[in-house]
């Protein structure tokens, strides 16, 4: 048992330390402040600020959409709104969506894009694919936390004469806040790190996107591009990008811990 624990912890520490060591040494301030116009992929200067911006432009709106949609779904799954045979059907659909590999969402978005006559990729469809990816993740987290809202608490709210919607909006929402916060950050972390769904849909670019139909670079996709380059010096840049991505993901999970703690201040046990 100790051996297996050692394997798990060891391999995970290995992964993080490889990225941190290689990434930190090849990262420079220039990379964070410049776009990759010119010869970033050819071994000389330039940076990947456009990819950082691109990733945020994809993941932030996607998380916002997915958040609104997920909270609505999770609230609606309460038994005041819908009989349990329907809610369990919806839950099964969401479980399936949770399990669908992200590349399938990519294919889906790409197919629609081609059907609409757009080629090469756009921010809009990247957001679309990421939203689909994040909906089941956020919904599950919110749903779990709504399920454990005590029945007596809801009864109290109803006894004060609140409507179903008011109860959900004011009481259930507050009680489920830690789950909602955790869901948003979990979804965002997953969205910003996922390469497969945006690989097919956003294309690539060395500049900042200026419209929702522009192509854009994103952190996970440029890691893939850089790692595929033949030259060793260019490959090393991939570690710098991965380091930045890892930092973002790690700080999100620290934020999650902080905010779930903070938002559970008013929770009734």
């Amino acid at each position: 048992m100790l051996a297996s624990l050692a394997i798990v912890i060891g391999s995970l520490i290995l992964i993080v330390s490889v990225i941190v060591l290689n990434g930190a040494s090849s990262l420079s301030l220039e990379m964070l402040t410049q776009t990759s116009e010119g010869s970033f992929y050819l071994g000389s200067g330039g940076g990947f600020l456009n990819a950082i911006v691109g990733s945020l432009l994809l993941a932030l709106p996607a998380t916002a959409f997915a958040f609104i949609i997920s909270v609505c779904i999770a609230m609606y799954l309460q038994k005041e709104f819908i009989p349990s045979r329907f809610s369990s059907f919806i839950r099964i659909c969401l479980d399936i969506m949770w399990g669908i590999p992200s590349i399938v969402y990519g294919v889906f978005a790409l197919t629609i894009m081609i059907a609409l006559g757009l080629h090469g990729g756009s921010v809009l469809f990247g957001i679309f694919a990421l939203t689909l990816l994040e909906i089941p993740i956020i919904t599950r987290s919110v749903d779990e936390s709504i399920k454990v809202v005590p029945h007596g608490l809801k009864e109290s709210a109803y006894s004060l004469g609140s409507t179903r919607f008011e109860t959900s909006l004011h009481v259930v929402r507050r009680q489920a806040m830690p789950g909602i916060v955790a869901g948003i950050l979990l979804g965002f972390g997953r969205g910003i790190g996922d390469a497969a769904s945006i690989l097919l849909t956003v294309g690539d670019s060395n500049y900042f996107p200026t419209s929702v139909l522009d192509q854009t670079a994103a952190l996970p996709t440029i890691i893939l591009n850089l790692a595929g380059m033949p030259e060793k010096t260019v490959q090393n840049k991939a570690y710098a990008v991965a380091f930045v991505l890892l930092l973002i993901v790690l700080s999100i999970s620290i934020l999650t811990r902080y905010f779930t703690k903070k938002s559970s201040k008013y929770i009734i046990k």
């Binding site: 048992m1 297996s4 624990l5 394997i7 798990v8 912890i9 391999s11 995970l12 992964i15 993080v16 990225i19 290689n22 609104i68 949609i69 609505c72 779904i73 609230m75 609606y76 709104f81 919806i90 099964i92 399936i96 399990g99 669908i100 590999p101 992200s102 590349i103 399938v104 969402y105 990519g106 294919v107 889906f108 197919t111 081609i114 080629h119 689909l132 409507t163 179903r164 919607f165 008011e166 979990l186 972390g189 997953r190 790190g193 390469a195 497969a196 690989l199 097919l200 996970p220 890691i223 893939l224 790692a227 991939a238 570690y239 991505l245 890892l246 993901v249 790690l250 999970s253 811990r257």
Partner: protein, 352 residues
């Protein structure tokens, strides 16, 4: 409906201001002849009345809110079914050209001559997924047992957040790491150890290895969750009849949390099966069945990632990739339904 005096006053006030804005809007249309301004003012007035009405009539607010939630639910369900339709429809084009038997059981993947055989890729996918699960499941289960039952509290409190954090590490990061560390190790040490000297390191085994590491956090955190939800009384009951700790783990904990462990394994399997990027970075990307585990291959998911750039130039390839996505979807679907049925039966039998 009983309306309090105070809110009635509020209603009156904002209704009057809405009326005022409405008059201004009409004035601006006829006196200033500014249609845009008139429209904006009209919009504000209507919005004011609408918002006011909503606030006063809680019942209407309730109905509209509930409707909105229902619409969102239906919208997502519609998207879900649209996904299925798009996948089916997209694969249809290919199926007119080539029979489903030929697609699934021929190994020749020749996009340039419009022949798509997926047999090799399917077999590779199964091998990679199976090996990764063989590595990951026992190790994860033992780790989870150790964390919940044996580890001192301080260690447990350190490990759990660590594992949660790692569940969120992007797959491309795992892939990158595998490129730097696992490829050379497999090429120089592991493959020669098994008697294969020609391996490039880009092989099925490396892919399985990185996949198993990726599913560790998923299986562990779900198992830990279901282990720690076992009531203490159950463990006490077992220990008080004189069972040792390990016997208790075997007989009580594994059994009582059976459904939870099963669903953890299902989820881990799903992740390994559909993982795209990390696999495509290390598997070598050859659409064939290698003779040993240390030869290059291709999985269904990585096939899509490696071929999508050619979609524009080969018309049937798009349809073929959609068909591959459909296979991924169907497998996930079957797995979910099986998982659901197993869990339902299991939770009936294993109620404690």
């Amino acid at each position: 409906m009983h309306i309090n005096k105070a809110s009635a006053v509020v209603k009156k006030k904002s209704f009057l201001s809405a009326l005022l804005i409405l008059i201004l809007s009409i004035l601006s249309l006829f006196v200033l002849k500014d249609i845009a301004l008139a429209l904006i003012l009209l919009f504000v007035a209507v919005a004011l009345i609408a918002v006011n009405f909503l606030i006063i009539s809680r019942r209407l607010f309730d109905v509209l809110g509930t409707r909105f939630m229902l619409i969102v639910v239906l919208f997502v369900l519609a998207l879900f079914f649209l996904l299925i339709i798009v996948l089916l429809n997209g694969s249809g084009i290919l199926l007119e050209h080539q029979s489903i038997g030929d697609l699934l059981f021929s190994s020749a993947w020749k996009p340039f001559s419009n022949h798509f055989g997926l047999f090799a890729v399917i077999i590779d996918t199964l091998i990679v997924t199976a090996i990764s699960m063989v590595i990951a499941v026992p190790i994860s289960l033992l780790t989870a047992v150790y964390i919940t039952e044996y580890a001192p509290t301080r260690l447990r409190n350190m490990i759990r957040p660590f594992i949660d954090v790692l569940a969120g590490v992007p797959s491309v990061v795992f892939g990158l790491c595998a490129l730097l560390v696992f490829i050379p190790v497999v090429r120089d040490y592991i493959a020669p150890f098994f008697g294969v000297v020609t391996s490039s390191g880009f092989c099925l085994f490396t892919a399985s290895l990185i996949l198993s590491i990726m599913v560790f956090p998923i299986i562990i955190s779900l198992c830990v969750e279901s282990f720690s939800s076992i009531p203490l009384a159950l463990k006490e009951a077992s220990l008080s009849v004189g069972a040792t700790k390990w016997e208790t783990v075997k007989k009580v904990i594994f059994r009582a949390s059976g459904p939870g462990v099963l669903s953890a394994i299902f989820l881990g399997f799903g992740r390994a099966f559909g993982e795209t990027i990390a696999v495509s970075m290390v598997i070598g990307n050859q659409e064939l069945i290698p003779r040993t585990l240390f030869g290059s291959g291709q999985t269904l998911a990585s096939l899509i990632a490696n071929n999508y750039t050619e979609v524009a130039s080969i018309p049937l390839l798009a349809s073929a990739l959609i068909f591959v996505a459909l296979i991924l979807f169907v497998v996930v679907l079957i797995f979910n339904i099986c998982g659901f049925l197993v869990l339902r039966r299991a939770s009936k039998r294993w109620k404690y």
